[in-house]
Symmetry: C2
Subunit: 352 residues, 2 copies
């Protein structure tokens, strides 16, 4: 190793799901929405003026912040936006988990949490999920440097009720508690209702799943103005202009088409429940997911084999080679047609 | 202060220049390009398909990385892209300046450097520029945790020759040396020619100035593959998908129109040299800027007064209320017409 390498921060990065560029595959591996964003965006995109791109965007991202605040019935100073919820979460780890005490998150959860903790040298402990993969709130009733969990949890899809979240908050008044609601629109209760009561609660959302805009990179956080101010200060110490003009322009208008949004949510939830019935008939076991994916295992077919077989058939799902969950596949809910193709393939494959 | 505030990282953020939304102003305060990006982008924007936005972008940003590598005659593994050069630099500070020894940068330079150092708790020392605001290479010949400087320097605009940079590199073989070339296209020599010789050299560029695309947020770094790998690992530990689809798509095509790029550069450089002559006649003193701005003072008119008077006339320039430079204004080179308006205003104002 060269001398100059001594000073370098060495990390094991998060591994994102594959983004194959091939046409014709069925992509059920990164929890994208099978339906395109509102057709109104096509027109808005056409109206964009490339000449405006020479100027810096508004650093406060006001158009997007204001639109989100109005949508959720909040004030602008309760909303923070970033380049996807990963950007928001990375900055939140950097801002709020600045303690020598360990932060807490489940042993099985979004696999970026430990990557951020390692990057910023934040100590952490990971209470084990119960046997049924549910979170036990009592595990979070001890001294810590902060708490974070997704609701619904990933990759299990299991949702926690508001009472359980309230209990966790009541036992964690001295640290920041982050509820990562990337998948909340697909059927869980939002903790947004609690931000007025709990000034140490940050709720994080994304445009990448329910809003069909993974390609724009928009995430946001909601919380009390002081929490948002601390987060903004760190953001403005990292990069002043994070949201580019296309994402500000399209993002702020994308939330206008509520009818279309509700319609695609309804379709995905219906397909998810249909897929659960079909998978059960095929002998699969799974948690009761409230997200846009199902976390499944088959008692007689190893996940790794299924993963490979599906892949060869052009159906991409996600497999995590990690303790406790290496028997499972996470299958994103695609369109009804895509899911029918999946089920058909599994029927043929499992019986052969 | 509430208990939960104890764990929070508290910082003094960088203050970006104003981005007034008013029409009709002359904006010479944030070093944007007065000329729009290549007219080809208008057509490309029209051809974008909003349906594609539902998918995550390619996390390796390959289209943009490949285009930049080809443009500079490098391999793809020598190029790293980010959300503006601020994103690239923030990640580079986090990756490369992970030492207990102080990093070195000039006392008068891009005012984000000390903000990043404070954010990541990196110790730093700031050798003073010479009386004429030039960098003395010998100041960087001592033990340190890393070196960074812009070339041309900001806000002075003074460029360092390749020999001086080579000397700094020769005396700093055990740390990473970053040359921030945000303004290099306007007339300085690039250190890019040295990356094959010095594996600890990182050269950083941006699309925001010479390439007229501040609104897209694209910056990049070039260096040897090992350096780029370390930087990528940290980036993938922070946010997998930073570059959104519009910026990948438009950014990778924006560098194709070399003729247009050279033409706008030529116009800006001509206007800069014209403005220098006019300002000299008006009694201004300034450094010999090789950037797209001029750093000026007037012996008998305080900078703050001029700043206010210009602002009232709808002409925005930048004033830094900092030691050694509070007498100066940084004036971005606008279009010839804008600069003529500026000079006309100054003529009237200084004589009245």
């Amino acid at each position: 190793m060269k001398a100059w390498e001594n000073n370098i921060r060495k990390v094991t990065p998060y591994t994102p799901g594959e983004q194959p560029q091939k046409a014709g595959i069925i992509k059920l591996n990164t929890n994208e929405n099978p339906y395109p964003p509102s057709p109104r965006l096509a027109q808005l995109l056409k109206e964009m003026n490339s000449k405006d791109l020479r100027l810096y965007p508004n650093p406060a991202a006001s158009s997007l912040v204001d639109a989100l605040a109005a949508y959720h019935g909040l004030n602008a100073d309760q909303v923070f936006v970033g380049v996807g919820s990963d950007d928001v979460l990375a900055l939140a780890f950097l801002t709020f988990f600045h303690s020598s005490k360990p932060i807490l998150f489940p042993d099985i959860t979004y696999s970026f949490y430990d990557v951020w903790a390692d990057l910023f040298q934040i100590p952490y402990e990971t209470p084990a999920l119960q046997e049924d993969f549910s979170i036990l709130p009592e595990d979070y009733y001890r001294e810590n440097g902060g708490v974070i969990f997704p609701n619904p949890n990933a990759p299990t899809g299991i949702a926690m009720g508001l009472n359980a979240i309230r209990n966790i908050l009541d036992h964690n008044q001295d640290v920041v508690v982050i509820v990562d609601e990337a998948y909340v629109d697909f059927g869980a209760e939002s903790a947004l209702a609690l931000i007025d009561q709990y000034e140490n609660l940050l709720v994080v959302r994304t445009f990448s799943k329910s809003r069909s805009l993974a390609g724009l990179r928009i995430g946001y956080a909601m919380g009390n103005p002081l929490l948002i101010k601390y987060l903004s200060d760190v953001k403005f110490s990292f990069n002043s202009y994070t949201m580019n003009q296309p994402s500000l322009y399209l993002g702020s208008r994308a939330i206008e088409d509520e009818a279309y949004f509700q319609e695609t949510l309804r379709k995905i939830v219906n397909t998810r429940e249909w897929a659960k019935r079909e998978l059960r008939e095929l002998g699969f076991e799974f948690t009761d997911s409230k997200a846009n994916f199902i976390f499944v295992r088959h008692p007689s077919h190893p996940a790794k084999e299924l993963f490979q077989a599906l892949r060869q058939a052009g159906i991409y799902v996600r497999h995590f080679d990690r303790e406790r969950i290496s028997d499972y596949l996470r299958i994103t809910i695609g369109s009804q047609e895509e899911m029918e193709t999946l089920i058909r393939f599994l029927k043929n494959n499992l019986s052969s």
